[in-house]
């Protein structure tokens, strides 16, 4: 069997792995780091533009080959499995959570507090924003103060967003430019945004993606990257330390990794999955599972969206990926019913697309279709959405599905999200509140709420290896070090006790950067 030895073995090749490896290399130059990723490298930058074009014209995958056919989970929200992970496709939105997210129990008597204080996490947010290259406009709310400014000026508001902002603030709710990991000037060796409108594959590299970091680390010979290599088991020794990671390489042959420290950076699904798969007679319920909470408290945020028609001439397509944000509702008064959510506004063409038949069912061809289309664009439309706070129950779980196995015979994961009782009890009130906010926005400028829809999944999923100070009620500490195995860390999304009410990638990265310091101390 082929064996590789290193000081640190990072399992997973997504955004948290990239950030952790980069920082670890800075903190401990010369340390041997191997990153093992089940998916493949997609480093052909020149192919991005033709792939973008195929995607626009034919709906083809803009990242061809970015998945592993038989490595699928029920309940997962993205099939991406490649070097770079989901952040190959991401929109680059880099909102911070708020202090309330970390103090839900002590402040509201809900869910659990995080084992980390806000001022400390805030420092790592600043670092994450610097490393990713975030362009943003500071929140005007004093509670959102930042100890360091964004490294770049905000993405300029397009004409559409300027019109929408003027409309939205009439409601009395402040809005500003959503922060994003997109360059508004050349930054960190990458180009300025060219407003290509296809951030899921950024053809200019203006939007951060982890493949850039990995390529740089490889060029510096700071890491070894083993792609198309699936880790199937972690092997503990008699003292409970992780001795090895057993994998299969690109050729299907077994590979073993031996390291002083193992870092599991495989996201909310595949991290707990690997720990469950690694059960042994000494650890019959999986590794790092003394608490019985491995794969439990799977979380994320729910969402409600809506479309609003308003009195404004808009031109959909100017910069559909950019939006306005308000953090007005991140806070909830202690004496009010609990509800927390973000609020976003985008340009929209909803209800304004060309159609084959009019409302009466008359077939429209040629000039008639164009006239009908034009008539429906006389008024503009906005898309609005709120991610809102729901909290997981213990039964919100990732488990192994013995009926579904990959080619190696390993059971695949199944995820079932279950909100806790308090979240379920306030669901109707939460929905009513958010719809009332949408209606308030609509009324601000003679608008009309055309409809709303609830999300049918939890976005930015997290949890499964939640952090805490008590080994009886958590899987790892605030640095991601598992309570049961001193040389095993879990980083990023799996460690979150609760999923917040806004995009979570920046939080995953900030936590991983903090973990990197703890990992460095083990070397």
């Amino acid at each position: 069997m082929q064996t590789h030895e290193s000081a640190v073995c990072v399992i997973g090749g997504g955004i948290t792995a990239a950030m952790l490896a980069q920082k670890l290399n800075e903190l401990r130059p010369g340390t041997s780091i191997i990153v093992v990723e089940a998916g493949r490298k997609l480093f052909d930058f020149a192919a991005r533009m033709p792939h973008r074009q195929r995607n626009l014209e034919y709906g083809e995958n803009p990242w061809p080959g970015d998945f592993v056919a038989d490595q699928a989970a029920e309940g997962i929200i993205s099939r991406t499995m490649a070097v770079g992970g989901s952040a190959l496709h991401w929109g680059g939105v880099t909102n911070r959570f708020s202090e309330e997210d970390l103090t839900l129990r002590s402040r509201y008597g809900l869910a659990d507090d995080w084992p980390i204080a806000w001022p400390e996490l805030e420092r790592y947010y600043c670092e994450a924003e610097r490393r990713l290259g975030v362009s943003g406009e500071p929140s005007p709310l004093p509670e959102d103060r930042m100890s360091s400014p964004y490294p770049m000026a905000a993405m300029p508001l397009s004409y559409n967003l300027r019109v929408l902002k003027a409309w939205a603030v009439k409601s009395g709710i402040p809005f500003w430019s959503t922060p994003q990991a997109k360059n508004t000037k050349p930054y960190d060796g990458r180009a300025q945004c060219q407003r290509c409108n296809t951030c899921e594959i950024c053809p200019t590299g203006a939007r951060y993606s982890p493949d850039f970091t990995f390529q740089r680390l490889l060029a510096q010979k700071a890491i070894a990257l083993h792609d198309r290599t699936l880790v199937r088991r972690l092997v503990p020794d008699a003292r409970g330390r992780i001795a090895a990671a057993q994998a299969v390489g690109p050729d299907g042959r077994p590979v073993e990794y031996r390291a002083g420290t193992f870092v599991l950076a495989s996201g909310y699904c595949w991290s707990p999955h690997l720990l469950l798969l690694s059960a042994t007679p000494a650890y019959p319920n999986g590794l790092a599972n003394r608490s019985g909470l491995l794969g439990r408290f799977m979380t994320g945020h729910a969402f409600i969206g809506g479309q609003i028609e308003l009195d404004a001439k808009l031109y959909p397509g100017m910069n559909e990926q950019h939006s306005l944000i308000s953090r007005q509702f991140f806070r909830c008064a202690d004496d009010a019913p609990f509800v927390r959510h973000d609020l976003r506004v985008w340009e929209s063409s909803a209800g304004r697309d060309p159609r084959l038949k009019d409302a009466s069912g008359r077939l429209l061809l040629g000039d008639a279709l164009l006239a009908d289309w034009r008539a429906r664009t006389a008024r503009g439309a906005a898309r609005v959405r709120a991610y809102y706070d729901i909290h997981p129950s213990r039964d919100s779980a990732l488990t192994l599905d013995s009926a579904r196995k990959n080619r190696w015979g390993d059971p695949l994961p199944v995820i079932r999200h279950v909100a806790d009782e308090a979240s379920r009890a306030r669901e109707l009130a939460t929905h009513a509140h958010i719809v009332s906010v949408f209606e308030r926005l609509a009324k601000a400028n003679n608008g009309k709420l055309l409809g709303t829809s609830r999300g049918t999944y939890l976005d930015h999923p997290s949890g499964g290896c939640r952090m805490g100070t008590d080994a009886a009620t958590s899987v790892c500490d605030s640095h991601g070090r598992t309570h049961d195995h001193e040389n095993l860390f879990v980083v990023g999304s799996p460690t979150l006790p609760t999923g917040g009410c806004t995009n979570a990638t920046l939080t995953f990265v900030a936590l991983a950067l903090r973990s990197a310091e703890a990992v460095a101390r083990t070397i």
Binding site: G65, C196, P354, L365, W373
Partner: protein
């Protein structure tokens, strides 16, 4: 790490490629013979706006043919976010066009014409309307799917960034990499569009 120069080079290369005429991708995979192409162009006269003019309609047909030629069966499609699944593109829509074209020609002959293309516009429109009804098509597909050649051509054109510009009478250029400067202003009007639709052809 892509430099600004590298990024601009890629943008320029693709812009040039996007302007290639239909035949540039190779002639060995021609989806329509001469007669079928004539039928397609006469369908375009019915289903695409007269407002954009003959040149723009011919351009739309040429780009549609290029699109058909470039279609890849079994290619990985976007696997989506939220409810994700791996899927591949289906059979080329072009597989269904010969029978559809034959049906249009048959309907034309039933009206005493030699070819569909030789019928007056109203008669062609009537035949196309019946064909769409017979195919039970209620909505424009997201992109051509073989439901019917007429609605596929319509979907190809009306869902394009070019058609959006025509609809809004503005250079939104949705699918182009346009840079950030100037985006705070409303997009420029299509040249002379409001005064003279004919002059808008070159922009459409």
């Amino acid at each position: 790490m892509p430099s600004r120069r590298a990024a601009l080079k890629i943008l320029g290369t693709t812009a040039a490629a996007a302007g290639l005429p239909g035949g540039a991708a190779g002639q060995s995979n021609e989806p329509f013979d001469t007669a079928e192409r004539a039928t397609l162009e006469s369908i375009a006269d019915v289903v695409l706006p007269a407002e954009i003019g003959d040149t723009a309609r011919r351009d739309a047909v040429r780009n549609f043919v290029r699109w058909i030629r470039g279609y890849r069966e079994g290619a990985d499609m976007e696997h989506g976010y939220g409810h994700t699944r791996v899927r591949a593109t289906g059979p080329s829509p072009a597989r269904r066009y010969p029978a559809q074209i034959a049906a249009l020609e048959k309907a034309a002959r039933a009206r005493g014409a030699d070819t569909f293309a030789s019928l007056p516009l109203d008669a062609r429109r009537s035949i196309v309307e019946h064909a769409i009804a017979d195919a039970s098509i209620e909505r424009l597909p997201i992109r051509p799917d073989g439901g019917h050649l007429a609605t596929d051509l319509m979907a190809f054109y009306f869902r394009s960034a070019t058609a959006a510009n025509v609809c809004y009478r503005a250079r939104i250029d949705r699918d182009s990499c346009r840079g950030l400067p100037g985006s705070e202003h409303a997009p420029a009007a299509l040249a002379s569009d409001a005064q003279n639709p004919e002059s808008a052809r070159a922009d459409a």
